[in-house]
């Protein structure tokens, strides 16, 4: 470090892909002037796995295990959108009960994602205890998921036309118990974090995004709602059965990191409200539209014959995507998760473009950190809430 005292050079620090800060493999090249950040260049691609290319060679059922690896903390949303695309292309109706189950699972997944956002966010700011508390709550959600789907995190639960299996007996009561317990947990976080003066000093006024900027940059999700734009796809698109529940869009006006924090905490409480209403009002009925599974009797007469039905190795039920294109989107906890799907009258899609919310939201990072201190970078990055699995795909 032989910088002569007269020359004013900026120090280039590399916050490399390996970093104790828990944000996945993101590489930031920072130009610092002492403690102030002059510029920041994010370098992506360390977790690129070729998800979009792989999708071109897989049927929907075969591709479902891959999608949970995009956003591995809010897995139900990725599955939901993988299924919603073909459903809308093929005009398939989803039974009411399946829709309710999907909504419950999606909202539980939203709570889980926001919880695991909160832990590392607080750990970056320095309070390392909430990290353990959120895992305590997340373990309960894992237990619920495991009882219903068989897996704690990478459930393979959604199917075209519904869900894979019905909820087990007693699951609804357990879920209600969880909702009651979780409300006390959120109250605990409010007491511990929201009114802490050190936390407020670290977070208030940091990384301000105005409403116009947010729309220009294409942000979505809590980042958009914290800047004063009341845009929630659940209200805009009227998908699944969100219209039957009584809930409100969480939004704030300031656009700083504190506003984003408040929006996410508020969203957790709203999700509990939705879950409770869904649990009360869940109808009976089928949980999957089995019509999609059946082979076309006319065309595959030989394969539907008696001789072939009971052979041990059956082909997976494939769904043929018509030759149309469609953009379908869902309100993931991190933003607007979208799939642009071009079908090709075969079981493989022709193009499967993923619109990851984290990737689009991350674009604003260099602008936000420009006049901030070194310690604020982690605060801002944490409040954007990215997950490298979906940023890099």
């Amino acid at each position: 470090m032989n910088v002569p005292a007269t020359r004013k050079d900026f120090m280039i620090v590399n916050m490399g892909p390996h970093h104790p800060s828990m944000h996945g493999v993101l590489r930031l090249i920072l130009s610092l002037d002492g403690e102030d950040v002059i510029d920041c260049e994010p370098i992506l691609g360390y977790l690129h796995r070729g998800m979009e290319k792989i999708a071109e060679n897989r049927t929907i059922i075969q591709y479902l295990p891959y999608v949970t690896r995009w956003d591995y903390l809010a897995t139900m949303f990725t599955e939901a959108i993988t299924i919603n695309g073909p459903e809308q292309l093929g005009n398939i109706q989803v039974p009411k009960r399946a829709s309710y189950i999907r909504v419950i699972m999606l909202e539980l997944s939203r709570i889980a994602s926001h919880l695991l956002w909160l832990g590392p966010f607080m750990a970056d700011i320095g309070g390392q205890t909430p990290f353990f508390y959120i895992f305590r709550e997340r373990e309960l959600i894992y237990d619920l998921f495991e009882a219903a789907t068989g897996m704690r995190m990478m459930h393979n639960y959604f199917r075209i036309g519904g869900v894979a299996a019905d909820l087990p007996h007693g699951w609804l009561d357990k879920c209600l118990d969880f909702c009651d317990y979780f409300l006390t947990g959120v109250a605990e976080y409010q007491k511990l974090i929201t009114r802490n003066p050190i936390f407020l000093e670290r977070v208030e006024g940091i990384g301000i995004v105005s409403a116009e900027e947010a729309i220009n940059w294409g942000l979505s999700g809590p980042m958009l709602r914290a800047s004063g734009v009341q845009w929630d796809l659940r209200k805009v698109d009227h998908y699944e059965c969100y219209d039957e529940f009584d809930w409100g869009v969480q939004w704030q006006k300031e656009g700083d990191s504190l506003a984003r924090y408040l929006v996410r905490i508020g969203e957790m409480t709203e999700s509990i409200k939705i879950i409770q209403q869904a649990l009360e009002g869940i109808p009976g009925g089928p949980y999957e539209n089995l019509e999609t599974r059946s082979f076309d009797r006319e065309r595959n007469r030989e394969w539907n014959d008696f001789e072939y039905r009971f052979i041990s190795k059956k082909t997976s039920p494939t769904f043929e995507l018509p030759k149309q294109e469609l953009y379908v989107r869902v309100e993931a906890p991190k933003g607007e998760l979208g799939i642009f799907l071009i079908g090709d009258q075969s079981s493989f899609p022709w193009r499967w473009k993923i619109r990851p919310p984290g990737f689009i939201n991350l674009q604003i990072l260099p602008q936000l950190v420009k006049r901030m201190k070194l310690a604020d970078i982690m605060t801002i990055l944490g409040s954007i809430d990215i997950i490298m699995g979906e940023v890099d795909r």
């Binding site: 470090m1 120090m11 620090v13 970093h19 104790p20 800060s21 403690e35 607080m122 750990a123 970056d124 700011i125 320095g126 309070g127 390392q128 205890t129 353990f132 508390y133 305590r136 511990l192 802490n196 050190i198 936390f199 000093e201 670290r202 201190k373 070194l374 310690a375 604020d376 970078i377 982690m378």
Partner: protein, 365 residues
């Protein structure tokens, strides 16, 4: 004159004994020092164990439970493991600075233990300047941190070392001003005199009640000096990997770890001495049976001294709950907020505290 050979032999053996006496004299000086160092080491082990158990309780998990009963030997196990690790040197770093840095941080803190009293005549060095020895010598520690940061040839470490030095010097001044107020109250800077001045009214004689603002400022400043959360930005994991400790491995890293806890222990001992009444039992009108009364016979004196040590340690470790709980509850302050707090908030308040103390002393005269 006939010199008696036996007398000569007696004189010779006597002189040999005398030179041996000097040797024994020197050795006898080293015994209290080693006892103190041994005591400090055991104290550190206890602090580490206490921190791990308390943090585990706060985070709803169990702490170490395999190394020794209740995990008490975990710190020893960690230290031994660090001894066996490879000692890395950064390839283009300054080797001498790199090696000496941690040692300076530890030595300066160890030297301050010599003025802590555990009993009336039970202090290693009863100096007139007493408490100020601690403040003066602990100011050398930032030099050690700067050396480590610079000698690592690593931008993270350099940043961390600079931050650590800035933080240490900022918070020394409020610390010194609080200690100055205490010496005003006790008419002396010697630690023994400070404790003696608190011995008169049991609990009510503690300096804690006479200097409440000073206590809080001392608490915050000593947390900042020890670089513990909420002031641990120099070693903030999320931003700078590990600050000035990044390039260290093996026992040098162990030295930094130990230095942090040494600093914490000496700060807590000083809180006990300055504010919580030192070795006094502070419960008035306890009637001690005659056998144990320390003014009368030897057993009593031994008993009295042991009680003094025990009471100091109990007060220190009860006080330690506060820094440890604070560490795991509060988030950390950003560097400029930290410096703001030190210079613009604590310094004026501690000056005001000093002014109040001085004026109250004037009135009481």
């Amino acid at each position: 004159m006939i010199i008696d050979t036996t007398t000569v032999q007696a004189i010779n053996s006597f002189s040999r004994l005398k030179s041996l006496n000097e040797v024994y004299g020197i050795l006898w000086m080293l015994v209290p020092i080693f006892t103190l160092v041994l005591g400090i080491t055991i104290g550190i082990l206890v602090i580490v164990w206490l921190e791990r158990e308390i943090s585990a309780g706060i985070q709803q998990r169990i702490g170490p439970e395999y190394a020794g009963p209740f995990g008490v030997l975990q710190a020893l196990a960690d230290g031994t493991k660090l001894l066996f690790k490879e000692n890395l040197f950064p390839s283009r770093g300054d080797t001498r600075l790199f090696s000496i840095g941690p040692s300076i941080a530890v030595i300066s803190t160890l030297l301050s233990y010599s003025v802590i009293p555990f009993g009336y005549h039970f202090v290693l060095a009863d100096l007139n300047i007493g408490v100020f020895l601690w403040i003066a010598i602990s100011s050398i520690a930032p030099v050690g941190l700067l050396m480590s940061g610079y000698g690592s040839n690593n931008k993270y470490s350099f940043l961390g070392g600079l931050r650590a030095a800035a933080q240490s010097i900022s918070y020394e001044i409020p610390l010194t001003l609080c200690v100055l107020s205490i010496s005003l109250l006790s008419n002396s800077s010697s630690t023994v005199d400070i404790v003696e001045a608190q011995s008169k009214y049991g609990f009510g004689g503690w300096n804690l009640w006479r200097q409440p603002i000073g206590f809080i400022i001392f608490l915050i400043s000593s947390l900042a000096e020890c670089e513990r959360l909420p002031f641990d930005l120099p070693e903030a994991e999320e931003e700078l990997v590990a600050g000035y400790q990044t390039e260290y491995s093996g026992i040098k890293f162990g030295l930094f770890y130990v230095a942090s806890y040494l600093n914490l222990l000496v700060s807590s001992l000083f809180v006990t001495v300055l504010y919580l009444g030192g070795w006094n039992i502070s419960i008035p009108y306890i009637s001690v049976p005659e056998f144990f009364d320390f003014e009368i016979n030897k057993v009593g004196r031994v008993f009295g001294t042991t009680m003094g040590i025990l009471i100091t340690l109990v007060k220190t470790y009860l006080f330690l709950f506060i820094p440890i709980t604070t560490r795991w509850t509060l988030p950390r302050l950003r560097m400029d907020q930290l410096l703001n707090l030190g210079w613009k908030f604590l310094l004026p308040i501690s000056l005001g505290n000093l002014l109040l103390t001085t004026s109250s002393q004037l009135f009481s005269l």
